[in-house]
Structure formats: C-alpha cells, structure tokens
Amino acid sequence: MKLGAYLLWTPVAVAAGWTVLLGYLLDDAVNPLADFRLLLLRWAVWIAAGAVLIGLLNLLAVHWSKISLLEPGWPYSALVLLFFLTTLVLGIVFGTNYPIVSMLFQYVQLPVEASLMGLLAITLVLAGVRLMMRRRQLTSAIFLAVALLVLLGTGPWLIGNGSALQEAVVVGQRWITQVFAAGGARGIVIGIALGAITTGLRVLLASDRPYAD
C-alpha cells in the first residue's frame, strides 16, 4: 500500500476502534461519541452484509478462474457455479420463501451438512481409536479415559438406568463435565479472552495492520 493510503487508513481504523471501545466503557449519557458509536455499529452491520456479497463474488471469481484455466477440479467448480447462480436467481426473483428454494435447502443443503456431522462423529471415533497409536502419551490415555467415561455417563445403557454402576458412572461423568471440564473450559476461555484482548489492542495500537502495510 502506498504511503499516503497508509497514513490515511491507519488513523481511521484506530479511531473507529477506540470510539467503539470507549463507547462501551462510558455511559451514553456522558459519552459525546455515543451516537457516532451507534452509527459505526450500524455501518459494521452493513459492512458485514457487504462482506458476504464480496465473499460470494470472490467465490465466483475463484471458481470461474478455475474453469477458464481448466485447472484440476474444474468440473466441481462448474457444479458450484451452476448451483450458485441457480439459487441466487431463484432467491432474488422469488424470495427465500419460494418453495423451490426451500426444497433446495431441505433436500440438498440440510442432508449434506447433516451427513458431515455424521462424518464428524465417525472421524472423532476413528481419531480416538488411533490416538493411542499415534501419540503414545499419558495425556492421550487420560483423554481417552475421560471420553469413555463421558460417553458411558451420557448414553443409555442396555441394562437400563438406575443400576448402582450406572449411577456411579453418571456421577463421575457429571463431575467431569460440570467441574473439571467446565472449570478447565472456563480457564481456557479466560486465556482466550486475554489473548483476544491483546490481539485487539495490537490492532488498536496500529501494531497489527491487516488492512494496510
């Protein structure tokens, strides 16, 4: 990016970030930039909507490029473009409530994504089976033991619920999920929040400038 643009956009980005941040910290009654903050938030929503369109245009450009250059996998790109344009035209012309659009969702997108969830389940089971072979560590053993315990405590038993063993397993599962897992997750979330804050501050301090360099 040229020097002039760099000098322009960095202050704009930093000012917008600090305005929104201070708007959250200060009460709107004493914040002279309260209205400006709300305006920026609305712009952000607009920009998000625009970004979806830009992303779709990028999707279109990438696949069109693959087709025009006959790169490997171009038939898939052709299919993507075909369904992309079909759905787009139907949605624009008839709206999202149009039965054909609903059918496309109901009988194409939903089954595909549901099958991917099923694939995820199989993948996780497979990863668990392989984990002890790939990574022979104590942490792997603990990971698998906890996973087994939680599965046993969550799922139904063939012998029925209510047995002493099943009750013990359920108690153990709840201890793990509601104490250790929840506590650990909370600690991880705090750590992630700290990382997110410092990352955001680097952007606000113009140290990280993904928008310009």
């Binding site: 998000a48 969830m117 089976v129 053993a141 209510g162 997750a185």
Partner: protein, 696 residues
C-alpha cells in the same frame, strides 16, 4: 586500371589521389615502397619483407595459398617456414621466451609435459625408424611438406639470414642431399630430417596429429633408448596408456574426431615446444643447448644416457626453477607472441589484401582468439587416481542409467483406509439397525431419572407472559439441525401449548429457513398461524456486533439492515407493537450450537434483559461452556437444555413423544459402538506401546 579503391570505404578514387575523396583515408603508403612504377593495388612482389609469422598466417589461410608472396627480403623466419612444418618453428635462441627459459622442466625431471597432441607417438616396436618415416604413406595426422617446395628463396636471402639459421639450413640441405645418412652427433637433426618429407606432403591439408584421448599420455622414450628411438614419433599415433593399467571410462574421454582436428584450416602458430616433425629447434652444435631446458628424456637422449645427465646435474649448484605440473599444463601456448618484437615501421609488412591493402603495420586480421593454441590443460598429464576411476565409473553408470528408459514406476500404492471403513461401518450399522428395525433395546428413563435441569426449565417457561412475543434466536447451522431440533422441538411445542406468541431472528444465513422448518412443524398441531402466532424477523448479519445492536434497540437494528423485505413490516404486529428494547420481549430463547456465539449472546443480553428470562437450548458440546452462567448466583442464564436425554424427558413432560424417542435407541446403539471402538483402540495402542517398550 586508373582508379584506386579506398581500403577504408571502397570508394573508387583516381590513381593519382593520395587520399580518399570520400573518407580521406590514405590511399598510398606513406613509406616509399618500390612498386616498380606500377599503379593500382600493390602486388605481392612489390611488397616489402613481411614478418614470418604474418606470412605464415597468411599462407595458411584457406583460400589464400599462393597469394601470399614468398618473402624475399630479410625475412629469415619467413624462409624458415618453407623448410619446416608449420607447427615446429620457433624463434631463435635469443628469442626464447623468458618463462620458458626459467620455468622449463629441469633436466632431472621427467617430461610428462611433452604435449601429446603435437608429439607423434612412438611407432610400434620393431619397425625400422628410418624406413617408417620415408616409406610409409603420409599419415593423415601429420603435416607433410614437400621438400622441393620449401626452398624457393632460400639462397637468395642467405645474406640476410641469421647465422644460426644458416647453419641449420645448411645442415638440412646436406641431410636432404644424403637421405639415409644420419648425423651421428645430432639425433634431433636426424629426427627433423625424417619429419620433413612427411610433413611437407601433408601441408596442403594442414592436418595435425590427431590428439590423443585424454588420460593417455605419450609414453616417453625409454632412457636406455638411443636417439633413433625417436623416429617412430612421426608415425601414426599409437596411444599407449601412460599409467593407467585399466581403460579409462568412455564417459571421461572426449569425442575423438574421426578425420582431423576442427582447427585444421586455421593458421597454425608454431610452438616453441618441439612439435611433430619439428625442425625449428636449433641444432645442438649451433645453439647453446644449455640455454634451453629440454625435458629430461630428451636430455637423456641428447646426452647419451642417464649417466651423463646425472653428471650434468651434479655440475649445477642450484636446481633450476620449476613450476608444478598442473601450472605448466595451464600455461597458454601462445604466450610466445609477447616476445615477437615489433619491427620498425619501415620493416613492417604492407597489407596485401582486403580493405587494408596497402597499409603497413596493420594488426593481425585474425583475432587472437581464433589463433590455434594448445589446450589450456594438458590432458595427457591428468593424474588419474583410483578415486578418479571410482568417480568416473559412477559418472558412467549415471550416464548409462540416463540413457536407458526407466520403467514407469508404479504409483505409490494408495493404502485402503480399512480402519476408517471399519469404524464408519460399525457406527453406521449401529445407528441404522435399531432405526430400521424399530428396536427398543434401551429402556426409556423414568421421570425420576429425568435431568434436574428440566424442572427449572419448565418453571421458567411457566412465567413467560402471553401478551407479547418471545424472541427465538436461531443461531446454529443446518448441520446441527438433527441434534438441535430434537431438543428445541419439545420446547417450541411447549411454547405453543402455552399460547405464547413467537418471533424468530436468525443470526446465520440459513437460520430463517431452519426457523420456518421447526415452527411449521408444530404450528399445524397448535393452530398457530404465520403472522399472528409467530412471525419471522429474518436474518440479522453482523454476528456479535449485530447482537449487541439488536439487544440495545431491536427496531433500529432491524431497520438499519433494511429489515426483511419478504416479511413485511413485522413491527406492526400486535405481539411486537410494544417491543422497543430486548427486555420488552416476553422471553429470549437462544438456540445455539456455537460455544462462542452462545457465550456472546448470554454476556451481551444478560445485562440488558432485566427481568426478562433468558433460556438456552444448546448443543451438548456447548453445554459445559454455558453451565457456569446457569450455575452462578444471579445467573444471566435462567434455564438451559441440551442433549437427547433432556429432550426425551421434555417430550415426556409434554406428553407428546416425538423425535427424541425415535432417536433414543439408535442413539444408544451408536454410543455403545463408539465406546467399544474407543476401548478397543485404546487397548490395542496400549498393548503396542508396552510390547515395544519391553525390548528396549
């Protein structure tokens, strides 16, 4: 011819003009050249004496034979050319280059540096030397000179011939007059005499001795052999491996020209080193041979044997300076050019041909790079070691491999993901079989075994007002529809049972359709009409930012993104007419499968909702993340529901069994299969770990 062509611009000028009318170049030499009154271009006979090297070059140029005049002036070297092959001339002893005088190999050194390509190899043993040089047909690799053609001006120029050269010529003449007689005192002269005929015969072709293949050095004459042993040197090359008992790999040998050297047509510049058939080397009696450092083997031959050479060595106080063989091999052979003295201007030749014809003292027409020269490295002296042989063999092997067409290697065999297939098949079968068979293998939990969160959830549901809409936030992707609909279905069913008006908001692009899907399913059961009992606010882009904006001011945020055109003006609906802030909703339900988005909604909505309850129906994976918000004091989250057991319990509480019950057995079967597979994999891995650690 009355006109003279300008040598510079080729413009025709009058014959009397001194300078070109076009370019001003001088048309006649400044020096008074006796032209005999001729006009026009200078003729050969009119030219002043030309330095021999220039004459030689001119005479050797293709197409110019016969044009170059035989020098009649005091060109002692030019005449010398006539009596010698082009490659064996050299300046007089006084003009021996300094480097050669100083750096020539010491007499006691072996003479491996004798230039192999220029030295004819020895003849096969047993063949008479004299006969071999005269009776044999001229070798294609030699440059024979016809003796009769080599002395047209020899005597006429005798007065200007240096004394030492005269003696040489006299001796040569005597030798020619009595062929077969060999001067007993000078084997070199004898050798020269033998070389002359064959070289003279080959002169028209100017063929040089075929270079020997690299790695094969000429075998120096044995020390015990007398001078006569050198005669076979004029014979065709018979390469003798110098030190390599085994053949040099073919890969290391340069291609040998089949007929002659590529530079055969170029003017040949003689070297000081004795060439094949060379005659320029002064005789021993004429020149102080001590001033020329000959190779040891030659010195031995000259001196009669190693004994004399040893005695000669013993007389030296200091050993002559020597240079390493590798450096000697790198010495440019045309270095002798530097010792060619520049003659006075009046003695310089006049250019006889070309655009510079008539000018004196012109530079060589041939660039120096075109002059023949010895190879920079004497290939005959390569020291081939065992390591070289090994490397050569390796190189040859590589080249041979390159020459062969490698068979197409079969592609890396793609290992079948058997384990993946086994695991996938086991899980799929475990889920499918009970679903297809309608099996009831797993007992349904009794109300006593229902999750404790159910009571709290239903308790909050009982407090939701029915005069205003409750907000349902659909924050999950279609992939989670199977899990989420099983849990939120009973919740929606309960909401409609209680007659609570609903408004849906999608935070994902597909959320609107997901909401329609679930509401349409239960609205028909409860007589809820779209637009009255429930309505859709549509998709709100912007993620958490949009959530914050919507919770603060729902209408403004909704309108700021243009609303949902297909939904119309939803805010005029009675259930939404009173809604100004998020806390105006009867309740807010969060249907989420994303931990971060669910946490964001809870954290953002909690402070803004006041007494309005916030209930979460989340994926089982998100539940541990949101539970602290539910378990804490003054919780921002009033109720939470997740997982199939909760859904089954809720269906039981509603009195309407739906999705949860139908999925209970496949769910249990699939879980059992996963547990078995995990346990088996873990045990297998542990067993492998232990068995591998034991030998260590």
């Amino acid at each position: 011819m009355d006109e003279i062509r300008c040598p510079m611009c080729s413009t025709l000028n009058p014959s009397e003009a001194d300078v070109c009318r076009q370019c001003g170049a001088r048309l006649k030499p400044v020096l008074g050249i006796p032209t005999g009154g001729k006009t026009g271009p200078l003729e050969a006979g009119d030219l002043p004496p030309v330095p021999d090297w220039l004459n030689r070059i001119r005479s050797d140029l293709p197409g110019e034979e016969g044009e170059a005049p035989a020098s009649e002036g005091p060109d002692w070297l030019g005449r010398m050319r006539e009596a010698a092959t082009p490659g064996d001339e050299g300046p007089p002893a006084g003009e021996v280059p300094e480097w050669l005088k100083e750096d020539a190999p010491a007499p006691d050194e072996p003479a491996p540096s004798a230039p192999a390509p220029r030295t004819a190899p020895p003849a096969p043993a047993g063949k008479p030397a004299a006969a071999s040089s005269t009776a044999e047909p001229p070798s294609p690799s030699l440059t024979p000179i016809e003796p009769g053609t080599s002395k047209p001006n020899e005597t006429s120029m005798a007065g200007e011939t240096p004394e030492w050269l005269s003696r040489i010529r006299d001796r040569e003449a005597k030798a020619r007059q009595r062929p077969g007689q060999e001067p007993e005192e000078d084997w070199l002269a004898r050798f020269r005499d033998e070389a002359i005929p064959s070289a003279a015969q080959a002169k028209p072709d100017k063929k040089e001795a075929r270079p020997e293949p690299p790695g094969v050095s000429p075998k120096p004459p044995p020390k015990e052999a007398g001078p006569a042993e050198l005669r076979p040197m004029a014979r065709p090359p018979a390469p003798v491996p110098s030190r390599a008992p085994e053949p040099i790999p073919a890969a290391l040998q340069p291609p040998i020209p089949e007929t002659e050297a590529p530079s055969q047509d170029l003017p040949k510049v003689p070297a000081l080193i004795l060439d094949s058939g060379g005659t320029a080397t002064p005789g021993a009696e004429d020149i102080d041979l001590e001033s020329i450092q000959l190779p040891e083997w030659m010195s031995d031959l000259k001196g009669g044997g190693p004994e004399e050479a040893a005695g000669e060595r013993s007389r030296r106080d200091l050993a002559p300076a020597t240079i390493p063989a590798w450096l000697e091999a790198m010495r440019p052979i045309d270095t002798f050019r530097s010792v060619v003295e520049i003659q006075p201007e009046e003695e310089q030749s006049v250019e006889a041909a070309g655009p510079l014809a008539g000018l004196r003292g012109v530079l060589l027409a041939e660039p120096v790079v075109a002059m023949p020269r010895a190879p920079g490295m004497d290939m005959g002296r390569v020291d081939v070691t065992d390591r070289h042989y090994a490397q050569a063999e390796l190189l040859q092997k590589m080249l041979e491999e390159e020459a062969h067409e490698a068979p197409v290697a079969p592609g890396q065999r793609r290992r079948l993901p058997l384990l993946r297939w086994v695991v996938g098949a086991a899980v799929l079968l475990a889920v499918a079989i009970p679903a297809v068979l309608g099996a009831t293998w797993f007992p349904v939990p009794s109300p006593e075994q229902w999750p404790p969160e159910l009571v709290g959830f239903r308790s909050v549901m009982g407090r939701i007002p029915t005069d205003r809409a409750s907000l349902l936030v659909f924050d999950y992707e279609p992939g989670y529809a199977g899990e989420m609909e099983a849990v939120l279905g009973p919740v929606v069913d309960d909401l409609m049972t209680r007659g609570i008006p609903l408004a849906t908001l999608a935070t994902r692009p597909a959320g609107r359709i997901l909401a329609e899907r679930i509401l349409a399913r239960y609205s028909s059961l409860h007589g809820f009409a779209a637009g009255e009992g429930f309505l859709h606010l549509g998709y709100l882009p912007g993620g958490a930012t949009a959530a914050q904006a919507f919770l603060a001011a729902p209408r403004q945020a909704w309108e700021s993104v243009g609303g949902a055109p297909s939904e119309g003006d939803v805010w005029v609906s009675p259930s939404l007419a009173s809604i100004q802030t998020a806390s105006d909703f009867g309740a807010v339900f969060l249907f989420s499968a994303g931990a971060e988005s669910a946490r964001t909604w809870v954290e953002q909505a909690g402070p803004l909702l006041d007494s309005t309850p916030l209930l979460a129906v989340v994926s089982a994976g998100v539940e541990p993340i949101l539970r602290p918000y539910y378990d804490s004091q003054a919780p921002p989250l009033d109720a939470i529901a997740s997982g199939l057991p909760m859904a089954l319990a809720y269906e039981g509480a509603n009195g309407r069994q739906a999705d949860a019950l139908s999925r209970w057995n496949p769910y249990g079967s699939g879980m059992l299969a996963a547990e078995a597979l995990l346990a088996g994999g873990t045990l297998y891995g542990l067993a492998g770990w232990l068995t591998r650690r034991r030998p260590a």
